[in-house]
């Protein structure tokens, strides 16, 4: 089904897509029909700069297990960086 389950997250940083590098301001995270991944539903992440138009988008479509692994990897990396004192400037 079309779930329209969406989380929006404000971001700061950069992403590289079909337009090259661009500044990002937000991400949409949703569990819905993917465009390309071979699943009926996928955990989809769109990293966006809406001010630059719809093409300023880096899209990822993952199966739920992969999405959880990615989330855990993100948190683990940040925890390691924090323990090293590398996050003190942020």
């Amino acid at each position: 089904m079309c779930t329209y389950l969406t989380e929006h997250v404000a971001l700061s940083g950069s992403a590289k897509g079909q337009l090259g590098w661009f500044p990002v301001s937000t991400a949409s995270v949703y569990f819905d029909h993917p465009f390309d991944a071979p699943f009926e539903h996928a955990l989809c992440i769109d990293v966006l700069d809406p001010a630059s138009g719809p093409a300023a988008r880096v899209a990822v479509e993952l199966d739920p297990a992969a999405a959880r692994a990615l989330a855990e990897a993100i948190l683990a990396t940040l925890a390691s960086a924090e323990s090293m004192g590398a996050l003190s400037a942020h």
Binding site: M1, S28, Y30, H33, P38, P54, A55
Partner: protein, 258 residues
């Protein structure tokens, strides 16, 4: 003996959508004198893409004038289908009133063709299936509706949004034209329970309808480029679609393709 004449033309056009807005659409029509019935194709949630245009051309090859309005044109003109769909999806989807207006604009465009037969049907897939049901209940300008695995026709209050403020099932009393519903028996939405609710409501209001479920098929079983594609179910579904439109829209402009 020479082959039968079956030339078609397919091209992008501009049509007047909701509020008179100029929007993009994909038109495919027989070049025969006609009369040719019309079919408005409502694309699925992933957007106005190759699949949507392929479906539109399929109707033309079968003798119908078909038009698929780009429901995401205003939101992302010229964008790739997936970028446009992602933008609209993130904003909560196509607003119902705008969709109805765009589909009516497409129906009027088809009725204005020189070889138009006068009757216009609507077919929708996925979210478009819900929209097709909704349109059948919202206007008397369409003559037949086909809803292919339209999810959220049955919807509770928690499913309603400002852009989608109504469950189409609640409008069934106003359905004024025949309806064909196609379902995958393994679909989660619309599920077999949803199909039963829809059937009950259609019957309760004395509507002209046919519902068919396909065993071994789930959501999007007609989409040829997805793992959900079920070729046998898809072939049978299209037989049902063309039979239904043939009975309710009049004969196509030329003999069906083999």
């Amino acid at each position: 003996m020479t082959p039968s004449y079956d030339a078609v033309l397919s091209e992008s056009v501009t049509l007047a959508g909701h509020g008179g807005d100029p929007i993009e659409g994909y038109l495919a029509r027989p070049l025969a004198p006609g009369p040719a019935p019309g079919v408005v194709v409502i694309h699925h949630m992933p957007g106005y893409d190759f699949d949507a245009k392929q479906i539109t051309r399929t109707f033309a090859v079968q003798g119908y004038s078909a038009l698929c309005p780009n429901l995401y044109w205003r939101d992302a003109p010229g964008a790739s289908p997936d970028d446009a769909a992602a933008k609209v999806r993130a904003e909560g989807g196509e607003p119902d009133d705008r969709c109805i207006g765009d589909v009516l604009g497409a129906a009027r465009y088809l009725r204005g063709l020189a070889n138009a037969g006068g009757k216009v049907g609507v077919i929708g897939f996925c979210s478009g299936g819900r929209q097709a049901y909704l349109i059948g209940c919202s206007t008397d300008e369409v003559d037949a509706v086909v809803s292919c695995y339209g999810g959220r026709v049955v919807a509770g209050p928690e499913d309603l949004t400002p852009r989608r403020p109504v469950a189409p099932l609640e409008l069934t009393a106003q359905l004024h034209c025949p309806l064909l519903g196609l379902f995958g028996a393994e679909d989660a939405n619309p599920s077999p329970e949803h199909r039963a609710r829809i059937e009950e409501e259609l019957r309760r209001h004395g509507k002209d309808f046919e519902l068919h479920s396909f065993d071994g098929a789930g959501h999007s079983f007609l989409q040829h480029d997805r793992p959900a594609y079920r070729p046998e179910a898809a072939a049978r579904a299209y037989e049902l679609i063309f039979d239904f439109f043939g009975r309710h829209l009049g004969p196509p402009a030329f003999a069906p393709a083999g």
